[in-house]
Symmetry: C2
């Protein structure tokens, strides 16, 4: 089984951490692409994912799965022991809610904030600076909400480590590209971040 | 159990269709909000979902679950028979991939396209017309990809009806608000749309 990725990309990182948590990281052959050089928007790569996004998982039977959370879902279904997407129906819903909140209103806002303010991918998209700046404002707001939330919960989605922690953790590091950083006014985020950072998977 | 929603909102509609498919629509008490009037951004409602988004499900024990797909996930886990999120690990990954594609690159682009070009919610967000116009272009592009995809598959995520069909179906109707419509050049989408539209759940 192969995963096409660029190791430094935040979406690639969250899949690697998920696989490390599942103990299956060494079952996967990682193929590195250079996104800035456009390896992901070639005709050949778009046959794997017409959207030209990474990571893409390729199973031995030729099945191609893109979208980070879809790749994670495959391994969650295959190895349901030590769940990272919730055990009970209520826990599954809660994890899905928080994973999505951290992704849609935090990670994706960082991504758009970066792309639209920096013009990093101006060769393949139209950066709109005003929109990028608004996204960065949303990133700061979400971080404050996360600080409040982590004052009443150990992990992002309750008492157990989950994919929501992975998305939030990767996003906190990613947020540096738009100049948003956790600081001393965020003791709960700092406590939680240190805890996640100590896990072996954080280095994946 | 309650669901706070506005019946005409696309995210509300996809949850209703999902619940109808699961046969549990009548177990839920729906509470209508007026989004334009700001019922969803009151201090009181933000205690249910700090992001001020609908739908929000409230269980009898007080648990609040927001995010449409998280609400669907709860019912999928509770009633795994007649799965709408895939049966096998590979099918689950494929459904998740297509649900996300239809949501992120189609439904959400329609939403942003509408909000940023129309200024419908200008009382609570800053519309950026240039960004809105770019989103609408993406909506048209995605529709063309969907037409190609539906030439080789019966449903969006393979041989079985799934949540990906629900997201795509609701989005096709929603796309009218940005002036994007299916037409005679899209026989595969039209065949598929008619098929989904005939299901009892489409009226939910």
């Amino acid at each position: 089984m192969k995963v096409y990725e660029q190791k430094i990309a935040p979406n690639a990182r969250r899949v690697r951490i998920f696989l490390a948590e599942k103990g299956v990281l060494d079952q996967v052959e990682f193929v590195q692409l250079d996104l800035k050089a456009g390896d992901n928007i070639t005709r050949e790569f778009k046959q794997k994912n017409f959207l030209g996004k990474i990571p893409v998982m390729e199973l031995d039977d030729g099945t191609e799965i893109s979208e980070s959370v879809a790749i994670c879902r495959y391994f969650e279904a295959l190895y349901p022991e030590h769940p990272l997407m919730g055990r009970t129906p209520k826990a599954q819903a809660n994890v899905e809610m928080w994973q999505r909140r951290c992704e849609i209103y935090f990670m994706n806002m960082i991504g758009m904030g970066f792309q639209h303010t920096s013009g990093f991918f101006a060769d393949r998209m139209t950066p709109v600076k005003e929109w990028g700046a608004l996204c960065v404002e949303e990133v700061s707001k979400f971080l404050k909400e996360l600080e409040k939330h982590l004052s009443v919960t150990e992990f992002i989605a309750g008492d157990e480590f989950s994919i929501a922690d992975i998305t939030a953790f990767v996003s906190i590091d990613f947020a540096k590209v738009v100049g948003v950083r956790r600081d001393d006014t965020m003791p709960n985020i700092n406590r939680w971040y240190a805890q996640i950072n100590e896990r072996d998977s954080a280095k994946a």
